[in-house]
C-alpha cells in the first residue's frame, strides 16, 4: 500500500558483479568528493568577517535617550509586565530639581535590571514601551563565566554618547 507519493521502493536484488567489486562506486564517490576541492567554501572567519543580521534580529537591549541626551524611561513597568520570562526589575524615583537635563519626565527608573539569563529576546518589552525607551539592538550577548555578569544594570544598557552620535549620523545619511 502506498501511503505517500514520495515513497520509493527499495531495490533488494542481489549485487551485480560491478557492484560487488566496489571500484566503480568508489570512483563515483571520489569524483563527488574531489569535485568539492574547487567549490566555494562556506566558512565565514567569524571575528574578522561578520555576516549581516536579518532586519528582524533581536539582540541585547538598549535603553534609549532623546536628542538632548535625557533618559526616556519613566519606569512605568509595562515592559516588566509584558515580559514573559519575568526578567525585568525596576525601581522608580522622582526627578529632583536640577535633574531636568538627565531625565525627560518627572518619574524615572532609579534601578533598571534585566536578567539576561532569563531573557528570551522576544522583544515584547520593546512593543510594550509607550515611550520608545527600550529597544533590542543587533548586538549578540557576550558569554561569561559568572552569573552575576548577566544581570545587566541600567548603566550597562543605557545608550552611550558614541552610539547616539552614530545614530545621528545614520539619520542624516
Amino acid at each position: 500500500m502506498q501511503l505517500t507519493k514520495r515513497a520509493i521502493s527499495v531495490d533488494r536484488s542481489p549485487m551485480t558483479l560491478g557492484e560487488k567489486i566496489y571500484l566503480p562506486a568508489i570512483a563515483k564517490g571520489l569524483k563527488i568528493t574531489l569535485g568539492h576541492i574547487f567549490k566555494k567554501k562556506a566558512t565565514v572567519s567569524y571575528p574578522e568577517v561578520k555576516r549581516p543580521f536579518s532586519p528582524v534580529f533581536r539582540g541585547l537591549h538598549v535603553l534609549n535617550r532623546d536628542e538632548e541626551g535625557r533618559e526616556k524611561c519613566t519606569a512605568c513597568g509595562l515592559c516588566a509586565l509584558a515580559c514573559p520570562a519575568e526578567a525585568i526589575t525596576m525601581e522608580a524615583a522622582e526627578r529632583k530639581k536640577g535633574e531636568e537635563h538627565l531625565y525627560r519626565e518627572e518619574k524615572y527608573a532609579a534601578r533598571y535590571e534585566i536578567n539576561m539569563l532569563r531573557c528570551i529576546f522576544c522583544g515584547y518589552c520593546e512593543e510594550a514601551c509607550p515611550k520608545d525607551a527600550i529597544y533590542l539592538s543587533e548586538t549578540v550577548m557576550p558569554s561569561n563565566y559568572s552569573r552575576d555578569y548577566f544581570i545587566y544594570k541600567k548603566q550597562d544598557m543605557l545608550i552611550t554618547d558614541e552610539q547616539m552620535k552614530k545614530r545621528a549620523e545614520k539619520g542624516k545619511g
Binding site: I26, L30, T33, H36, K41, T43
Partner: protein, 360 residues
C-alpha cells in the same frame, strides 16, 4: 685494538640515518594530521585549521602540546603493565618498518681522503619484504594488548576485531605480494627498487604497478585494512564501539596510538611506493644522473620518493573522507571470499605467464 677495528664512521652514519628517518617519520605523521584535517575540510566545503600559524601549520604542535598536558588516567581495574606497554609497542612497531626501505640511491663522499659509499637505507637485509610483514603483524599486538588490558568491553571487542581483521587481510596482502616476488625473484627491497629502474625498460614500463596491477590493487585494499583506516576502521568505529581499543587511554598514551597510526600510514605509503611505484626511480633518471653531481642526485631521488609517498597519503585521506564504513561481516567477506581468491588467481596467472613466456 678491538675498538680500532670497529668501523666507527659506519656506526655514526647509520645512527644519523636512523635519527633522520625517525624524526622525519614524526614530522610527516604530525603534518599528516594537519593534512587530514585540511583534506576533510576541503571535501566538506570548509577551510579547516587556520588559526594556529599560517594556514594552521602550527596545529600539530598545539595538538601535541594539548595531549602532553592532559591528565594521565590509568583505569583502576586495568592490567597496568600491559596497559602501558600497548601504545609503546604500537609506536615501536610503527617506527621499525622504516629500517628496510631504501630512501635513495647510494652516493659517495670522501672522508679523510678515503671514498666512502653512503647507503640511504638503514639495513639492506635480503629478506626485506618478510621483515616488513613480520613487523606489521607485530603491530596488532599493540592494539590487542591495549584493548584487552583496559578491562573495558568495548575495547576488548575492538581489539578482537582488530586482530581478526589484521590476520584476514595479511593473508591476502602476502598472497598478492608473492606474485610480485615471483617476478622479481628477490625479497630484498633494494633489489626490487633497482629492478624498476627508470620508467621505461626493454620495451615496457619498468614499475611493478604496470606489471602487477591486480596485485597492487589487492595490496592497496589490504593496507587500508592493516592501517585501520576508513572504510575498514572497524577497531575504532565510533558508532558501535565508542572509540574502540583506545577508549580508556588518555593524555600522550592516546596520542601515541593516534600518532602511530599516521606513522603507519607514512611507512605503508613508502612500502607501496617502493614495491609498486618504483621507489625513488623516476622517468629519465639516467639523464638527470649524468647531469648533476652524485649527492644532489640522491637528494632528487629522495624527493621523488617523498612525492610518491605524499601522493599515497593523500589518496588514503581522500578515500577516508569519501567512503562509509564497511559492516564487519562485509569486511570479512571481502577479505576471505573476495581478495584471497583474487590474489590466488593472480598468483596462478603470474606463474603461468612466467612459465610460458619468460622461461629461459
Amino acid at each position: 685494538m678491538l675498538l680500532l677495528s670497529i668501523d666507527w664512521i659506519f656506526i655514526i652514519e647509520k645512527v644519523a640515518l636512523i635519527l633522520v628517518i625517525i624524526l622525519s617519520s614524526f614530522g610527516v605523521a604530525a603534518y599528516a594530521t594537519w593534512g587530514e584535517r585540511k583534506v576533510a575540510a576541503i571535501m566538506q566545503d570548509r577551510i579547516g585549521p587556520a588559526r594556529a600559524g599560517i594556514f594552521g601549520l602550527l596545529q600539530p604542535l598545539a595538538d601535541g602540546g594539548k595531549l602532553f598536558f592532559k591528565e594521565e588516567i590509568v583505569p583502576d581495574r586495568s592490567t597496568r603493565t600491559l596497559f602501558i606497554l600497548g601504545p609503546a609497542l604500537f609506536m615501536v612497531t610503527a617506527l621499525m618498518t622504516s629500517a628496510v626501505i631504501p630512501w635513495g640511491p647510494d652516493f659517495s663522499i670522501s672522508i679523510g681522503g678515503t671514498e666512502r659509499v653512503v647507503s640511504l637505507q638503514v639495513a639492506d637485509i635480503n629478506i626485506g619484504i618478510l621483515y616488513v610483514f613480520g613487523v606489521v603483524s607485530l603491530g596488532v599486538y599493540g592494539v590487542m594488548l591495549g584493548g584487552w588490558s583496559s578491562n573495558n568491553k568495548f575495547s576488548l571487542l575492538s581489539a578482537i576485531r582488530a586482530a581478526s581483521q589484521s590476520i584476514s587481510y595479511e593473508l591476502a596482502m602476502g598472497l598478492s605480494l608473492i606474485a610480485v616476488l615471483m617476478m622479481t625473484q628477490t625479497l630484498s627491497l633494494r633489489e626490487i627498487v633497482s629492478q624498476q629502474h627508470g620508467f621505461w625498460q626493454d620495451g615496457y614500463f619498468s614499475w611493478n604497478f604496470f606489471k602487477q596491477p591486480l596485485a597492487f590493487l589487492i595490496f592497496l585494499v589490504c593496507s587500508f585494512a592493516e592501517l585501520n583506516r576508513a572504510p575498514f576502521d572497524m577497531p575504532e568505529c565510533e558508532s558501535e564501539l565508542n572509540m574502540g581499543y583506545h577508549q580508556e587511554y588518555s593524555s600522550m598514551k592516546l596520542g601515541l596510538y593516534l600518532f602511530a597510526e599516521y606513522i603507519n600510514m607514512f611507512i605503508s605509503s613508502a612500502v607501496l611506493a617502493t614495491v609498486f611505484f618504483g621507489g625513488y626511480n623516476f622517468p629519465w633518471m639516467d639523464l638527470v644522473r649524468d647531469a648533476v653531481p652524485g649527492g644532489l642526485f640522491s637528494v632528487i631521488c629522495v624527493t621523488v620518493l617523498m612525492i610518491k609517498v605524499v601522493g599515497f597519503i593523500l589518496f588514503f585521506m581522500f578515500i577516508r573522507w569519501t567512503l562509509p564504513r564497511f559492516r564487519y561481516d562485509q569486511l570479512l567477506n571481502l577479505g576471505w571470499k573476495g581478495l584471497i581468491p583474487l590474489a590466488l588467481l593472480n598468483l596462478v596467472i603470474t606463474g603461468g605467464v612466467i612459465l610460458f613466456f619468460f622461461n629461459k
